[in-house]
Symmetry: C2
């Protein structure tokens, strides 16, 4: 079991102080079953974009900075989440020097860079990212996004509404990843390219 | 049954010359069942954005201009579609003066304007759209997007991978919509706002 205490991106803070690995086949209880019984759904057909990559009526959720955590300075906005939609679209923004949680899970990510530039790790590949680039995170693949310039890195992320909880790396997993010098440099916030 | 021959956006051209209404409860045969048996899935983890809102390895699919059609000058690119993903993300781009098909269906659209400005009709509402605005199209709601400036209107559209076929309006439907002067002006390509 991992000892690292953190919160994977895309999840609400949990009530318990620590997070442990969930069986990858179990859908997360924090996610929304598609077509679940519901009260009246209130849908807003148009949400105007605001300055600085916000949207009318969409809450910008900060992640607390925590010395124990493997994420840093990210906000999250849920753009589309509906009982009739099998996917969800979220917008994450990472401040300069910040990064998302290093994690993996059965569900996939479809990512489009909406703002700025940065780097990501997907599996064994470190990639430089520019605005509008696409990133596919396959199932059970370690991944992390980093804002490696002096601008925020903002990205859209499509996920299944029903999805498993992210798994965090053990110290052994991290050691194994760090055997690749390019990955080690990325994890140290100094990607080579 | 509608007499208009057209192709709803987000669909491949059909083999028959005319399109008729599909029962709204029947999933489209043209869509991809989630988790369906498959050969080996080849996933590209990074696709660089190219100039003019294209992406490496993503085919830009033109729609033929057709005098009978209710769409005009749209291209479509499928950004994310995978057997493990319950949603799909597509990018549509409408040239100045162009428009998407006026249609409705059980499945929903989650839209983010990625490029330019324009207008949309959703139900009884005509909305002016700016870059990064969000549009939610609820089930069985007439909708259309129009590029009403001298720039292209480009938008991301999230849909369920399994979805019903769009329905086209009958002449009666159009007449009913046109009773609203704001909608009539929109359909004539001259939105008021």
């Amino acid at each position: 079991m991992p000892k690292v205490q953190t919160r994977p991106h895309g999840e609400e803070p949990t009530k318990s102080a620590s997070r442990t690995m969930a069986p990858s086949s179990a859908p997360s209880l924090e996610t929304r079953p598609v077509g679940a019984p519901q009260g009246e759904v209130r849908r807003v057909t148009h949400r105007a974009a605001t300055a600085a990559f916000g949207w009318d009526g969409v809450e910008q959720r900060p992640y607390k900075d925590d010395e124990r955590a493997l994420y840093k300075t990210i906000t999250r906005q849920v753009l589309f989440s509906d009982p009739e939609m099998a996917g969800e679209l979220r917008y994450f923004e990472v401040a300069p020097g910040g990064f998302s949680t290093l994690e993996r899970h059965e569900h996939m990510h479809g990512v489009l860079i909406l703002r700025g530039r940065g780097h990501c790790l997907v599996g064994n590949d470190v990639k430089q990212l520019d605005t509008r680039d696409l990133v596919t995170v396959p199932p059970m693949t370690w991944h992390q996004f980093r804002a490696t310039t002096d601008e925020p890195l903002g990205f859209l992320c499509m996920v299944n509404a029903e999805r498993d909880k992210p798994q965090l790396p053990t110290p052994d997993d991290v050691a194994r990843l760090r055997q690749n010098p390019a990955i080690a440099a990325f994890l140290d916030g100094k990607p080579r390219a």
